[in-house]
């Protein structure tokens, strides 16, 4: 067993896990942050995307102990302080960018990472960036619309 201490959504957390535990398992099983989903076992689907030290990471691609001391952000930390939906989350609801909701946490976390790097992405750039996030429900069309709308809102606010 290893003891892992990290910061998740601004709060420091410590828990023991097996050395082979993945970060995705640690978040779900040890910290009960079940918003991070696991949709595959080959690091393809992107349902488990979180931010580790500001970078979008598929949390199934690293061991929990590799996140020792890291600053992790998950879908549970994306809402505003008053509990209302954040800009990207709100855009996903407004534009029907989700159906079953399973890929959605990873999509939102990837979208946030994209917009941090590129505040005004083209449709092509959005589709290209989302290549590592699979959605089976939406055909991606309204996800693209949602991200474009969120980008516009975020640009207008700065």
């Amino acid at each position: 067993m290893v003891t892992v201490t990290l910061t998740v959504n601004g709060q420091e957390k410590t828990s023991d896990c097996e050395g082979r535990s993945l970060l995705s398992d640690f978040l779900r099983d040890n910290l009960n942050l079940t918003g991070t989903h696991v949709g595959c076992d080959t690091s393809q689907c992107g349902a488990c995307v979180v931010h580790v030290d500001g970078e979008a990471v598929k949390s199934c691609t690293m061991f929990a102990w590799e996140a020792q001391g890291a600053d992790v952000a998950t879908i549970e930390g994306m809402a505003e302080d008053d509990g209302s939906l954040g800009t990207i989350q709100q855009a996903f609801q407004d534009h029907h960018g989700l159906q079953c909701g399973f890929c959605t946490p990873g999509m939102v976390m990837s979208a946030a990472a994209l917009l941090k790097k590129n505040p005004d992405p083209t449709e092509y750039e959005i589709r290209d960036y989302l290549e590592g996030n699979i959605c089976r429900c939406t055909g991606y069309q309204n996800i693209v619309h949602a991200i474009q709308a969120a980008a516009q809102t975020m640009r207008a606010a700065t």
Binding site: D41, M78, H96, L98, G101, F102, C103, Y140
Partner: protein, 789 residues
């Protein structure tokens, strides 16, 4: 002006808030105190005899609670098939046993041999590696023709790999044969409808729990229809009566058909929890999903279309081999028959049709319904052969379709394949398609593509589907072993809010928003005063679940009926409060009024009176305001439409780019246009996936080569075009009270032929007119090869 609430409004989905904040509660998010974990040891060969299973070392693992093998299930029932098909000769289909854990033989890669229950999932996996299984490998049969042509028997006791040889309508066969023989023109096409893996993003999960204090079993499972699972598992597998078995399907991360069926893992977890007096949890890995979730499609077909010289259809004859896999999954047998053969008339007047289907056992994962289920297979062959015929006869592909359309004034229209279409207007949807796809601008776009050295093509097709499954008395005659009604309970609370309980299940469709829209419209109260409960056999009435685009047509109609009962009773209460006759009471916008007077009473006051009956007609009416309705549809519904696709083909590499996709659908009346757009987008994406990317490929030994997301090409964001969808053509369904038809499967049914037609068109225009068909998926390699030959 668009409405902002009620029927027809694009209300934002209330369920989104929990999904967007990580607060969804999917089955894998459910953990029961003290739960153990199961790992299934699965066959890695496609066919073999189990000589021995040595669990001694594994059982000694300190974390292992118990190891189960087939011997533990020798006296437990097998997984039942829900639909008995009768063959051409009046004989019932061959129905092999489908054990929970393999009994003596394994029949596909992924067949479960042993189940290891341990304190953690990781330790269960560790222990599984210590089990020694001696399997004598037998030759496997993967190809359907080989299976019928003396190949190894999947089930020795059946003495054949033929499940059934179905003819539809058998009495018409000779007439169809004769008509085709003497027809002026016959177009023939051999094609494959490629095998697909449904791949809902949430892998399947089951948590079995047992409450020894009241002898109740609880199963949490990733299901589209918890009541159906309770029925099948309770009655046929584990012999647990309904009142001792609760099945919960909480948030479910997509289904597309694959989560209709009753699977072995559900029965195992429920069984093991009773044995161990501890909850037992199973979470599929994606690799496991690929080799255990029922696959879809997998038909090999020859279709012949007979026409006169003017392109009028005379007769259709089609012959299909349909892969069942190694066992009969829950609804597998109905898919190539009643959900496929009955759709062969399409949108057209064709006097004579004969459909033959041979269902075949092979050493592969069972095949069952996947979004569209039989209807995509019917549409694909029909719309491909029509395009080929148009080319052969030199008739424009739109013109040949229009020439044969069932005209608006012919409805209700009885097809020669047993359906009666209630409404439709196929010229209208084609007109709309021509507009939204900007077909007038095609020549310009063709020239632009040409200037870049690309071959451009335009493909289109129509589709019709039979949805809203299904009239129980009809499907009973056809072999269904269940009724296909739906039920709803409306519980009006004392303060006027409403809880709607439905047997339909939402796993992405947005029912929690759209069903309250219907009730809101009828009661005139705000949508947020109405809450939908679904997915739990303990607190919803008996229901048949969600598949076959049935939820709004059947489940929604049950909700409408229950709401009507509520209104009828509430009027009587209101009449008492206003000292009037119930016949004189009118109800609108949440207020009861006595006609012709200024007397009125508000909805909330009537609700309160029902639960605090101090001033109440107690001698005539029971207190309370709660009603249940069952709705059994009188007919299927018939959504229909026309789809167009434009592609560019690179003749150097064979790579196909989808430039545009347009869909004009007629879904009848629409509750929430935003949700319908999303359903069509998703369906088309799966159709594009089938046409361009996806294929479940087995090698000759029965190993699934495309068994992960590294190998199975799921459509990604950059594989798909921006789609134009329109559902303004609306011919309301005539036999359900909402006038709705259903929209969930249309995109997946209607899109594959448009894409293949477009590629063939591009090749033809580019000088490769010798290519009259390419099987899906249209990979660069296949297209390039077709160009070269």
């Amino acid at each position: 002006m668009p409405k902002d609430f009620g029927f027809g409004a694009s209300s934002k989905r209330r369920e989104d808030v929990r999904f967007l904040t990580g607060n969804g509660r999917y089955t894998d998010d459910i953990n029961v105190y003290g739960q153990a974990y199961v790992h299934f040891l699965r066959s890695d060969v496609a066919h073999g005899t189990i000589k021995s299973i040595n669990t001694e070392r594994a059982a000694a693992h300190p974390a292992v609670l118990r190891i189960f093998t087939g011997a533990d299930f020798a006296s437990v029932g097998g997984l039942p098939c829900g639909w008995q098909v009768t063959d051409r000769f009046g004989e019932p289909m061959k129905e092999p046993a489908h054990p929970v854990l393999a009994q003596g033989k394994v029949r596909h890669v992924g067949d479960p041999i042993a189940a290891i229950v341990a304190e953690s999932a990781a330790e269960a996996r560790d222990a599984a590696e210590m089990i020694e299984v001696d399997i004598e490998e037998l030759p496997a049969v993967i190809d359907m023709r080989a299976a019928l042509d003396g190949g190894p028997l999947v089930h020795d006791d059946l003495e054949t790999n033929l499940c059934y040889d179905w003819g539809f309508i058998e009495d018409n066969k000779d007439e169809v044969d004769a008509a085709i023989k003497k027809a002026p023109h016959v177009t023939r096409l051999d094609l494959t409808n490629n095998r697909l893996v449904p791949n809902a993003m949430e892998p399947r999960v089951a948590v079995g729990d047992y409450n020894s204090s009241n002898d109740e079993s609880i199963l949490y499972t990733t299901s589209q229809n918890p009541h159906v699972i309770r029925l099948l598992m309770g009655a046929f597998v584990l012999s647990i009566p309904e009142h001792k078995l609760r099945v919960v399907a909480p948030d479910v991360g997509g289904g597309f058909g694959s989560k209709i069926f009753h699977y072995a893992e559900e029965a195992f977890c429920t069984f093991a929890a009773r044995e161990l007096k501890r909850a037992v949890k199973w979470t599929a890995s994606r690799s496991e999903s690929f080799i255990t979730d029922a696959h879809g499609r997998d038909h090999v077909t020859t279709i012949e279309l007979a026409l006169d010289h003017d392109g009028n259809f005379i007769a259709i004859r089609t012959s299909t081999l349909a892969n069942m896999g190694a066992y009969l999954s829950t609804f597998s047998t109905s898919v190539p028959t009643w959900l496929h053969g009955t759709l062969m008339a399409g949108n057209y007047v064709t006097p004579l049709i004969y459909v033959n289907v041979k269902a075949v056992f092979t050493n592969t994962v069972p095949v069952d319904a996947y979004r569209g289920a039989g209807r995509p297979e019917a549409t694909f062959q029909l719309e491909r052969v029509i395009d080929k015929a148009a080319r052969e006869l030199g008739i424009d592909p739109i013109e040949i379709r229009r020439r044969n359309f069932i005209a608006k004034d012919q409805f209700p229209y009885a097809t020669p394949v047993a359906l009666e279409y209630d409404t439709g207007d196929y010229h209208a949807t084609m007109d709309k398609l021509e507009e939204i796809a900007d077909l007038k601008g095609f020549d310009n776009r063709l020239a632009q593509s040409k200037s870049k050295g690309k071959l451009r093509g335009l493909g289109l097709n129509c589709y019709i589907e039979a949805c809203g499954l299904a009239p129980s008395n009809l499907v009973g005659q056809l072999g269904a072993r269940a009724g296909l009604y739906e039920s709803a309970t409306l519980r009006v609370n004392a303060t006027g809010s409403v809880t709607v309980m439905t047997g339909s299940h939402s796993h992405g469709q947005g029912h929690e928003t759209t069903f309250p829209q219907v009730v809101s419209e009828m009661l005139g109260i705000a949508e947020d005063q109405i809450n939908l409960q679904h997915g739990d056999t303990a607190n919803t009435p008996m229901g048949m679940g969600t598949y076959g685009s049935r939820s709004i047509a059947v489940g929604g109609s049950a909700i409408l009926r229950a709401t009507e009962k509520i209104i009828a009773k509430a009027k009587k209460i209101a009449a008492h409060l206003m000292e009037a006759s119930a016949d004189d009471v009118e109800f609108s916008d949440g207020t009861f009024r006595v006609a012709g007077t200024d007397k009125e009473v508000a909805w909330a006051d009537v609700c309160l009176a029902a639960y605090v009956p101090h001033n109440y007609p107690l001698t005539e009416l029971e207190p309370g305001l709660e009603e249940t309705a069952f709705y059994d549809p009188a007919n299927f519904t018939y959504p229909a439409g026309a789809y167009a696709c434009e592609v560019e083909v690179d003749p150097e590499t064979g790579k196909v780019d989808i430039c545009s996709f347009a869909a004009a659908d007629d879904f009848g009346r629409i509750v929430n246009p935003m949700v319908v757009d999303g359903q069509v987008h998703g369906g088309i994406a799966q159709g594009i996936g089938q046409a361009m990317l996806e294929s479940a490929i087995y090698d000759e030994d029965g190993q699934l080569l495309s068994g992960s997301y590294m190998d199975y090409a799921m459509p990604r964001a950059d594989d798909l075009p921006s789609m134009v969808v329109d559902h303004s053509c609306q011919t309301p369904c005539t036999h359900n009270p909402l006038g709705v038809k259903g929209c969930g499967e249309a995109g997946a049914i209607g899109s594959p032929p448009a894409i293949v037609n477009a590629v063939i068109d591009a090749l033809s225009r580019g000088g490769y007119s010798h290519v009259d068909h390419i099987d899906m998926p249209l990979s660069p390699h296949r297209v390039w090869e077709a160009i070269q030959t």
